[in-house]
């Protein structure tokens, strides 16, 4: 598929729009359908599309292994961190009311960071699993 010109051009046109759509879904999760999970999966799908058409090694240049692995863990840490922040500021674990001066603003802030954490972890895991499968396939072809 590396040599197919039409596919390469279309992928280079589409991938920015898919990434933008992922960001839109993430940040508009409050006002329309969407949220962290969907945004994370769409982000991973954009990179997977790029890797499928242009090549795994080129995709790994843009999103290297260490970024993906740290994304997997950082999301969960961010989520748990929001909870601990609630504890530190005087409320219960994962209490959003104490995160800002107005309780409702605290809710907005809490939901924002929590969804961000979810999206980061989900996209990291999906991408890492894809990388693992593809790498195994590459190794199998190299050995054969």
């Amino acid at each position: 598929m590396k040599n197919d010109l039409i596919l390469r051009v279309i992928v280079k046109l589409f991938v920015p729009f898919i990434l933008l759509f992922a960001l839109y879904v993430q940040f508009h999760g409050d006002y329309g359908p969407g949220g962290g999970f969907q945004a994370g999966v769409i982000l991973a799908a954009a990179v997977i599309l790029y890797a499928l058409i242009v090549g795994l090694d080129e995709a790994r240049v843009f999103v290297p292994d260490w970024i993906v692995e740290s994304m997997m863990a950082l999301g969960v840490l961010l989520y748990a961190g929001v909870g601990v922040a609630g504890l530190v500021l005087g409320g219960n674990y994962l209490d959003y009311f104490v995160l800002a001066h107005e309780p409702v603003d605290g809710q907005h802030r809490g939901i924002f960071w929590v969804e961000m954490g979810v999206a980061v972890t989900v996209s990291g895991v999906m991408l890492k699993v894809f990388y693992m499968f593809a790498e195994r396939g590459q190794d199998a072809e190299d050995d054969a």
């Binding site: 999760g29 969407g34 949220g35 769409i42 997997m72 999301g75 994962l94 972890t121 999906m126 699993v129």
Partner: protein
């Protein structure tokens, strides 16, 4: 929905695994369409992206690595068919007691959901009810779910990590 049933029947009896995987993608997409008809827009978006996207990619990746065609089953499938039909019969008997489809007086609509929908404006002020419940009212469940996703990723890394020939992991 009848289309989904037909897809599943073809999937059960097809032995070419590549077509089974593609049909599963079609099935997920049909499921997402049905969910939109049921007003479950968030779920439909997630099912479409996860089921028709990621699942199909992963299955195709595993298929490429395993490279097999399903062989002829050795036993006649009468016992599994009987078991499945028995389970189905029990479930049909169970659904006879369910409330009417789309009955506003059903217990599912009178217990906690009205409280969420009514108090949401004052407590959380986020128009999307699903996000509000997921991230605020029931955020412990979402924390657990994120941890599950991370654990699955870590498990896949642990299973499929390969030592290179010169010893680097």
């Amino acid at each position: 929905m009848v289309l989904m049933a037909a897809t599943v029947v073809v999937m059960a009896f097809s032995r070419d695994l590549f077509s089974v995987v593609l049909l599963s993608g079609v099935y997920s997409f049909l499921m997402a369409t049905v969910m939109v008809a049921m007003d479950a827009v968030d779920v439909a978006m997630t099912e479409a992206s996860v089921g028709a996207g990621i699942s199909t990619v992963l299955l195709l990746g595993a298929l490429h690595l395993c490279q097999s065609r399903e062989s002829r089953p050795a036993h006649r499938p009468w016992l599994p068919l009987a078991v499945s039909l028995a389970v189905g019969g029990l479930l049909v008997y169970g659904t006879l007691g369910l409330p009417e489809f789309s009955d506003p007086g059903a217990p599912i609509h009178t217990h906690v959901a009205p409280r969420y929908l009514n108090e949401m404006k004052t407590e959380v002020d986020v128009p999307n009810a699903v996000t509000a419940v997921l991230a605020s009212y029931r955020s412990f469940d979402t924390l657990g779910e994120t941890t599950v996703v991370f654990t699955a990723g870590a498990g896949v890394v642990a299973l499929l990590r390969r030592r290179r020939k010169d010893g680097r992991p």
